[in-house]
Amino acid sequence: MQAILAAEHVTKIYAVHAKETTAVRDVSLDIREGEFVCLLGTSGCGKSTMLNLFAGFTQPTNGRVLLRGQPITKIEPRCGMVFQSYALFPWKTVRQNVEFGPKMKGLPAARQRELADRYIAMVKLSGFENHYPAELSGGMQQRVTLARSLAADPEVLLMDEPFAALDAMTRQVMQEELLAIQEASGKTVVFITHNIDEAILLSHRIVVMAANPGRVTAVIENPLDRPRDLAAQATPAYASLKSRIWDLVVGDVRGAIAGRAGRA
């Protein structure tokens, strides 16, 4: 089967103040349709760079990024980004934010409203349609962002540590809701995290990345049954998967800490 989203030998070099930094080097990756893939790694491993490349916010220095075999050369609405910092339009109500994608597609007003109602209900925000983002908590704003992306109906959902800013309990609820939404919609999701538990709970596959330069060190199939809930964390399969991933990342994490200490 052809991958819906692919990176072919992608290298991305940023030049900041005449100093070149290799964000990712020679990354190749295939993402299958309907799959939930987590990009897991410590800071500086290039996972956000990969997401920005998939969204078309930036272009690779070398190699290609493909959506259904076609190179991504500009901002790609078919790859919908769920931003970590929400990026909601403060002057639009919850409903107007969620209607934005359908409106940009030129759908009739009644259809926009119908889609907004459906996705607002899906993220359990019915009753808050006429609130402005500033009137909502962080967890609620994150759900609006998710609903806004879903309503735009992209082929791939790109999620950049969407739950990192939430408190631990809210995050758990959001993870289970996201899992249910993904099961129901069958959307392809690329999800960035530095949280091993989150990656195991959500993913079909986990792409482990390392820093300096950013690269893929392992791709792990997640054998746990779906649908999953927190009870899965008590199983031996979960424990062995987690320790396997930890062994892969621990060197990189220690290296990053030592590197920071060395610089300080």
Partner: protein, 278 residues
């Protein structure tokens, strides 16, 4: 420029007095101190003038000012002056806004436009509007057009600078998000850049509105048959200090009312800011 600064300050103080900045005290006691201060000042003024400590030629008493006000209000002269000045401010300010807001958005979005107009902004900004009086009188005479031109010249640069800055400061992440959701250039403009820049543009308009009053008054003092500026200037020539003070108080009150109205419009245009006002 001092006149300009004094004008904006006269607008800022009553807002402060309305109890926005609390903390040390309740709204009620702030209001009480406001009233106490003003009443005390009036009393002092009355004692100083009626008690013979100050000559009425130097400063008329509050009572004289009040009866003068009643007189010019009764003849209709006061209202005509307020309406004439307000009309000049309205047209000059509206023209300046219609010219400067679109130009400012263009300059905020497009660096070449910024580079092209930038030098004119730098040169015109330090010029007080009264320096335009000789030229505008030569070109336009001393009629309405000249007063409107003075208001225009005194405000458009400020509106422009505010508009350029607030357009440039629209969060690029929101523009990225809109494009990611499928927005075209035109949609990004209408749905993100304009509403994103609106708070800054409105703030600039509010400041410029206060400035436009100082422009029209100075223009009216130099050459005009009507308006609050002419009222004050003529009263000075007749040594009618009470009328001068009536004019000054009226200017304060009119600018205050205009500023409150601008504040109401500002809130109506930005319902998403409502949580900050409750």
């Amino acid at each position: 420029m001092n006149a300009v600064r004094a004008m904006t300050r006269s607008v800022a103080i009553p807002l402060f007095a309305l109890g926005r900045s609390g903390g040390w005290s309740t709204r009620g006691s702030i209001l009480m101190l406001n009233v106490l201060g003003v009443a005390g000042f009036l009393l002092l003024w009355q004692v100083a003038t009626a008690g013979g400590f100050l000559s009425p030629l130097f400063l008329p008493s509050p009572g004289q000012v009040l009866s003068e006000a009643a007189q010019v209000a009764a003849t209709g002269e006061l209202w005509r002056s307020i309406v004439d000045s307000s009309r000049r401010v309205f047209f000059g300010f509206a023209l300046a806004a219609l010219f400067a807001v679109p130009l400012g958005v263009l300059m905020g979005l497009w660096a070449p436009a910024r580079a092209l107009v930038g030098p004119f902004v730098s040169l015109l900004r330090p010029l007080p509007s009264i320096t335009w009086i000789p030229l505008t009188m030569l070109w336009l005479g001393i009629g309405e057009a000249q007063k409107i031109a003075i208001v225009f010249m005194g405000t458009w640069v400020y509106i422009l600078v505010y508009t350029v800055e607030s357009t440039k400061r629209v969060d690029p992440l929101l523009i990225k998000a809109a494009r990611n959701l499928g927005a075209s250039d035109l949609s990004v403009m209408r749905e993100v850049i304009l509403p994103g820049a609106l708070p800054g543009i409105l703030a600039g308009l509010k400041v410029s509105l206060a400035i436009s009053w100082s422009c029209v008054l100075s223009a009216e003092m130099v050459a005009a048959q009507s308006g609050l500026g002419a009222l004050i200037w003529n009263a000075k020539d007749w040594s009618n200090l009470a009328l001068v003070l009536v004019g000054m108080v009226c200017i304060s009150l009119t600018v205050l009312v205009a500023d409150l109205a601008a504040g109401v419009i500002e809130r109506l245009l930005q319902p998403w800011e409502r949580h900050r006002h409750v």
